[in-house]
């Protein structure tokens, strides 16, 4: 997908319930690692199958990337809550930073299945990291819009994707809801931008996980009602619930 990220498709068999947008699976990537690794379900190419879109970050993601095609992989899930799908019309704004596109891809597909209008903003440090091609292709009729931003200006808007988002939200006919996934600083900025404009916003958060089911309290984030676990209370949170300073600090 990019020089450092891979798309995997898994046959899950009939036992796995169909994952919903926002949900993740917890994957046993290597015998010598203590913990599984969580990845958002990034697509459902056919019933009984699902995609993961994985960026190589450390030992676990490298081990996953090195597995031969056809390997059996032990997967727990789908886990976690899901994005709230719009019940009315209007445009949904999707803001993805870096590998954050993985967390929004199934959502984008699902929104399109329901004929919702979407506007995707995809950011990265530079053009190689851009994951715009994992989103539905823009249509001429404005039903699907897609813009990209790079920090170094190598492709698209030169600057942060958050600046793009701010612009879009200030246009007439602005999106009526926002979904975002990416680095904490980006999420905090989007939370701030949407709060100021009173636009509902949901973010998919990432945290180190152990149990993945709410038992160990290892994956918490600070919310206005105390620490919540990303695995079982999340990974999708209403951004108005998050304590943004703590999100960025942690």
């Amino acid at each position: 997908m990019s020089p450092t990220s891979f798309l995997f498709t898994f046959e899950s068999g009939p036992d796995l319930p169909t994952p919903r947008p926002g949900q993740f699976v917890n994957v046993a990537v290597a015998d010598d690692l203590t913990l599984r690794r969580p990845f958002s379900v990034a697509g459902i190419p056919a019933p009984g199958r699902f995609d993961l879109l994985v960026e190589m970050r450390g030992k676990g993601t490298r081990a996953l990337a090195e597995k031969p095609v056809g390997s059996a992989v032990d997967v727990m899930g789908p886990l976690g809550n899901e994005f709230t799908l719009p019940d009315a019309g209007g445009v949904s704004l999707l803001v993805a930073g870096g590998i954050g596109g993985a967390g929004l891809r199934l959502l984008a597909q699902e929104l399109r299945r329901g004929y919702h209008r979407i506007h995707a903003l995809v950011g990265a440090r530079s053009s190689e990291g851009l994951l715009n091609h994992v989103f539905p292709a823009p249509t001429g009729d404005g039903e699907v819009l897609l813009e990209v931003a790079t920090d170094d200006g190598s492709t698209g808007f030169h600057g942060m994707v958050t600046a793009l988002a701010e612009g879009v939200l200030d246009e007439p006919d602005a999106p009526s809801r926002v979904y975002c996934c990416g680095p904490p600083a980006m999420i905090a900025a989007i939370a701030d931008i949407t709060a100021k404009r009173n636009v509902p916003c949901e973010a998919l958060l990432e945290e180190m996980m152990a149990c993945g089911v709410g038992a160990c309290r290892g994956c918490v984030v600070a919310t206005r009602s105390g620490y919540k676990s990303v695995c079982s209370d999340g990974p999708v949170f209403d951004t108005r619930e998050l304590v943004l300073e703590e999100l960025v600090r942690a």
Partner: protein
Amino acid sequence: MPDITTRIGDLTMRSPVMLASGTVGYGPEYEGIIDFAVAGAIVTKTITVEPRVGNAPPRLVETPGGLLNAIGLENVGLTAFLAEKLPEAARLPVPVVASVAGTEPAQFEQLAAAVGERDEVAAIELNISCPNVERPRNPVWSDAVAVAEIVSVARAATGKTLLLKLSPNTSDILSVAEAAERAGADALTVANTLPGMRIDVERRRPALGNTTGGLSGRALMPVNLALVWKVAGHVSIPVVGSGGIGDTGDALEFLAAGATAVQVGTALFAEPAVPSQIAEGLRNYMGKNDVASMDELVGMAREEKRVCAETA
């Protein structure tokens, strides 16, 4: 089929494989994932008198062969535990051991009395060895007198079977173990996590919000096994092994060293079927090696036992 029923005081367990405190929450979180019916007991998350919010994240970081956690005893507190969590846990097909921690002896007394009163509680584990909270922490966990006081007051407060969970972070575990036995502990869980840390070099700060955490997982296994060997040779109450147990081989090592039962914690995260695999594995081992009973298995690597077996 070999019988692996295991008894510790009044706690009777289908298998010697217990689920370690803090790694399975209050139980229901893992319903449908862990097969509770094969486990000996579930030890619920340590509760305190008041609810605790726990430490600032990040709370987890992996280490080679292990895991550091700094949860900081986040828990619902005694009242909610008794009202909500305990009845839920009791629905599971497994005995419940309630883990409790106080900041001082009087709180241990209060907690032991309150949970000890409840029929759903099969036994109580006193946790004096969490490295992620201010109290009780070192020097308490390495102070035989302080530990004896905690055990005594809890002992006086309840007739339920009492386990005391020791810390591996002490230079003299035997005097603590001995003091606990004398003060009335029915069994000793050996042991909790070892203080450790990692640094996030990129961000130039400790990887955990709490700076340090407790090391668990396979990396810890040889350290806690050595402590079980030492303690089991020194006290006459049962010892429960904890620390990095991930498969039948590990469990056999702890049992052979003299542990009456084992607790599985961190290994559950990667493989929730570990308790079933171990229970099954122990039966297979006993069948294949003509080990007739758990009595014969427990301590089988100890000189005393080997001499007995050879002269029998």
